[in-house]
Amino acid sequence: MNWDQLFFLRHEILLSLLIVFELVADLSDSSARQSLVNTTIVLFAGLTVAGFIPLANEASLFGGMYASDDLRILLKNILNVSTLVFLLQSAGWLNQSQNSYKTGSFYLLLFSTLLGMYLMICAGDFIMLYLGLELATIPLTLLAAYDHNLRRSAEAGIKLLMSSAVSSAVMLFGLSLMYGIYGSLHFSEMSQQGAMGGSLGVLALTFFIAGLGFKLSLVPFHLWTADVYEGSPLPVTMYFSVVSKGAALFTLMLVLYRVFGQFTGVWSLLSYALAVLTMLIGNLFALRQKNLKRFMAFSSITQAGFMMLGFVNPEALGMNTIIYFMLIYSFSNLAVFGVLSIIHNRYGKEQIEDLNGFYKTNPGLSLILLLALFSLAGIPPVAGFFGKFFLFTAAASRGLYFLVLIAVLNATISLYYYLLVVKAMFINPNDQPLPAVTLTGAERLALVLCVLGIVVIGFMSSIYGYIQTVVG
């Protein structure tokens, strides 16, 4: 065993240690559990910071099953930052009395999924990727069903389990076809060969994309999204829409750009279709939602459609813009969910109309939500605009102006429903708006981080520049 390998695996090893810690803590007596939330946050913050330590990153371990490089480390770090903000925001929910007894197991499952996501990103062959995907999915179904005394939460868990089983089956089918065509599942070996298999290759690729498209909630693989988002506990919904989606996006990106370079014609065309379908359907459904979680479900579907715009450009520009957009989307979505979970924890409200007159009592929170929604809608000068603009440029540089036109139209439609929420807070009259809330330290910190992300990322060109150099 070469000890250097421990450094390459630092994310995975630290996270595994954290998982063991949670397991032990969960078995210990209840007094220790009281402080478990805070301890976990501190430990995870340590892990996040450790992930940024610059070390040699190029490596291929375990006979090529595990690969590491600067880009993968960056992607894992992005997931870590999102997860850290998520942990800060879910602290309030976990500290509620009815949830406190299951804190340990919550973290145990959560970190297991994160480990799975690391492995998806760092996979060097499809076996590892599939393993990571399952590790990232199965504990999530438990998390979705975490409010087990609520019928809808249980329903969410079952629905996710069943439909993800189908999607895994389709994906595995695609992978086995790949193996039949190439005689190998190693990325490095596959990428060196040209496009093979003819129609069978196209079929295999589509099946594979469908599997990850399911996690990304691309139309037509999205139908689980609304029900699961609505049924799951709010923090889990947040995790779905940001971290889980991010991992799926990054994995898809790495595989398509790095492994299936020979199939660019196929997958950029497929991305075109998926982008149009997803943006359109997501928007049309989002228009009519009254429940905030369902609303955010369709909003996140639409955003996934925008992400697919990057894929129509098979050059490095496409990757740059995808990563940049995901980074901004994470902060914007976390900010929205942060405010929503603050409201939900205090008052148990989750309808849009519950926000009526919210500005009068909570101007600060309303402004943050406004900022985040504008960022999702892509209004300058908040970062979301830059993310979208770059995606549009990526598509436009391929000459796909019609696609850009559809995308910009969809951005305009989405503005309409984001404004509905803004209108509820700032404009709709309400004699008894939700009373003013006092924030806990964790919530405050999380929101500050989100707002910084939303405002700063757009204007710090070094961030985009860094992504550019890492993608190479």
Binding site: S199, L223, P381, F385, F392, Y416
Partner: protein, 635 residues
């Protein structure tokens, strides 16, 4: 010359917005107003100083050259496509700085009185600062990308200002309409930017407007649907401008936007945001002229049609702010016409005239809006049927309003005469049909403005609940200042400063154009006087004594009645009303239809999301198969 201090012009309004906005109720209302106003006074002083040092430093040999006062590289997107943030000073932007800050200062002062005691006074001043910042950022942008950012920010802040009276559902609807319609137009703008920048490899105005740059020297002549790609790009960019400047058919938001507080209308809908489209075309004028002359032709016709269309509608409106809104549309139409018919260099009269009119219009239209606000403040109604005889009660408002009306009607030697005359000259030399339309619109303008004037200040007294009284000095002060500006702005030697190439332009006085245009203006005024000054139950005192002879004679021969018949029965019923109806039901309706269709499609497909797992899986698998089949077919 070091212009680094101009950075303060941008940073101060942001600082004010943050201070006033974040302090909430901790800041006393009066303090917020005074702080905002004082801050803006500093900004205005800085802008004037900039203008004096820029223009006052003497004319260089090669004309006034653009100066980059400050610039930072924000993003290197590809090696050639670099985005900067910076401040560009050239005759155009310096002129805009002066206009925006001056009018904004007047609006700030005026609002101290007008908004006194309103709920959300602090919020109002915070939004005003935000708006001023966005607008200033827009005009000093060094590149089209920076301009777009501020362009959207202008949209956001005007959304907040129009929807200020959020208790009023109509105000809320209007704010949303304004935002969404202009956003819709902006999608053209954005695609235009992408097209332009990808074909030229730059966002910078300096490089785009460079005579040997690729935008002008090598326009993309690939034809797409009958027009070259360059023309498409410039037309799409103009679409964004048409949205903000409310050109037909994207004008529908402007009349509704009158729901906002009146000083806001004076700022946004007279002097600043609505002329952003004119500014945009002027900013890229060399590209338009050399690379896409077809699009200039389109701009001229769109402007001409809008100006006629809006002037006709203005004659039918009863809400005084709506009259002013349509009047604004019509006047911006003039500016667009002038740009559309303009040449370059020595033939750039239209360009100069357009911006000259922008300059004078800002003052007299702001004056009209503020005057209307003063009237509304006194009468508590927007309808001219609730007004009349106000000249006795509000002498200052009356005087300044009269000056503004005379100015817009083009009566010499007021400023409106000079600028409109230049536009007519430019149109006359380029296209006689457009000239004829604009000449006729000049008459209509005088008519509807004086219809407004006579109905407010003359005519009969309705029964006022409270005797109207003159507004406080914080409101009349700006009125007087703007009145002076309206009178004097025409004497600014504009053609020495703001021209297509920075060099002074020789202009001639065309008697053939000036005399008929003054005449038709006077005719319009006279017509308005006939119809509205005396149409009342009072004995024909004032009007009769002044024009007793005339009216007696005309009445005897029933010419008056004939005229009333022609105007009221024929013109109003068969032209103006149908046009107004067309506007409300067809143009507006089409936009609504687009919205409604989206919603109904959304309802129609809701069955897809049934909640039943077996269907989800069915969709999933069939989706995969259909996609595969399509891919196989396409490959």
């Amino acid at each position: 010359m070091d212009y680094a201090y101009t950075l303060w012009i941008l940073t101060l309004p942001v600082a004010m917005f943050l201070t006033i906005g974040l302090s909430g109720d901790r800041l006393k209302s009066n303090a917020a107003g005074i702080l905002g106003t004082a801050g803006l006074a500093v900004i205005a002083a800085l802008s004037w100083f900039t203008a004096f040092s820029y223009f006052g430093s003497g004319l260089p040999e090669s004309g006034f050259q653009p100066v980059i006062a400050a610039q930072t590289t924000w993003l290197a997107f590809t090696e050639t496509l670099v985005i900067h943030l910076g401040i560009l000073l050239d005759p155009l932007s310096v002129m805009m700085l002066v206009v925006i800050t001056t009018v904004s200062l007047m609006v700030h002062i005026y609002s101290l009185g007008y908004m006194h005691g309103e709920r959300g006074y602090n919020r109002y001043y915070a939004f005003l600062s935000l708006f001023t910042f966005s607008m200033l950022g827009l005009v000093v942008a060094t590149n089209i990308f920076q301009m777009y950012i501020f362009w959207e920010l202008v949209g956001v802040s005007s959304y907040l200002l129009i929807g200020f009276y959020y208790e009023k559902p109509s105000a809320v609807a209007a704010a949303k309409k304004a935002f969404i319609v202009t956003r819709f137009a902006d999608l053209g703008f954005l695609i235009g930017i992408l097209l332009l920048s990808f074909n030229t490899g730059t966002f910078d105005f300096a490089a785009l407007n460079d005579m040997s740059g690729s935008a002008i020297a090598q326009p993309v002549t690939t034809v797409f649907m009958g027009l070259s790609v360059s023309t498409w790009a410039m037309l799409l960019i103009f679409m964004g401008g048409a949205g903000k400047s409310a050109m037909f058919p994207l004008h529908i938001w402007l009349p509704d936007a009158m729901e906002g507080p009146t000083p806001v209308s004076a700022l946004i809908h007279a002097a600043t945001m609505v002329v952003a489209g004119v500014y945009l075309v002027a900013r890229l004028f060399p590209v338009y002229h050399f690379a896409a002359p077809d699009s200039l032709e389109v701009i001229a016709w769109v402007g001409s049609f809008t100006s006629l269309f809006a002037a006709v509608i203005a004659c039918t409106q009863l809400d005084i702010k709506r009259v002013l809104a349509f009047s604004t549309l019509s006047q911006i139409g003039y500016m667009m016409v002038a740009l559309g018919v303009s040449g370059y260099g020595d033939e750039g009269v239209g360009y100069m005239a357009s911006l000259f009119h922008l300059f004078t219009h800002a003052f007299f239209k702001a004056l009209l809006f503020l005057g209307a606000g003063s009237v509304i403040h006194a009468v508590h109604s927007n309808l001219m049927t609730d007004m009349g005889g106000l000249r006795k009660y509000m002498p200052l408002t009356h005087l300044t309003f009269l000056i503004a009306c005379l100015t817009i009607a083009g009566v010499p030697p007021l400023s409106g005469f000079f600028s409109k005359d230049e536009i007519l000259v430019a149109a006359f030399e380029h296209n006689k049909v457009i000239f004829a339309v604009q000449w006729f619109v000049a008459g209509l303008t005088a008519f509807y403005m004086f219809r407004l004037y006579f109905n407010i200040f003359w005519n009969s007294d309705p029964h006022y609940h409270h005797t109207p009284h003159e507004s406080p000095p914080t409101m009349t002060g700006p009125l007087l200042f703007l009145a002076a500006a309206s009178v004097l702005a025409g004497f600014v030697p504009f053609h020495d400063f703001v021209t297509t190439d920075g060099k002074p332009l020789e202009t001639e006085f065309h008697t053939l154009v000036a005399v008929p245009s003054v005449l038709i203006g006077l005719a319009g005024i006279a017509l308005a006087w006939w119809m509205y000054a005396r149409k009342n139950s009072r004995p024909e005192s004032v009007a009769q004594t002044l024009h007793g002879l005339y009216s007696a004679a005309f009445r005897k021969f029933y010419i008056d009645e004939l005229y009333l018949f022609i105007t009221h029965q024929l013109i109003f019923r068969f032209i103006s009303r149908p046009v107004a109806w067309f506007d409300r039901h067809i143009v507006d309706g089409t936009m609504n239809l687009i919205g409604n269709t989206t919603v109904s499609v959304s309802v129609a497909i809701k069955k897809m999301q049934s909640g039943e797992l077996q269907w989800y899986i069915w969709y999933f698998t069939s989706g995969v198969l259909v996609l595969t089949l399509i891919l196989l077919y396409l490959n």
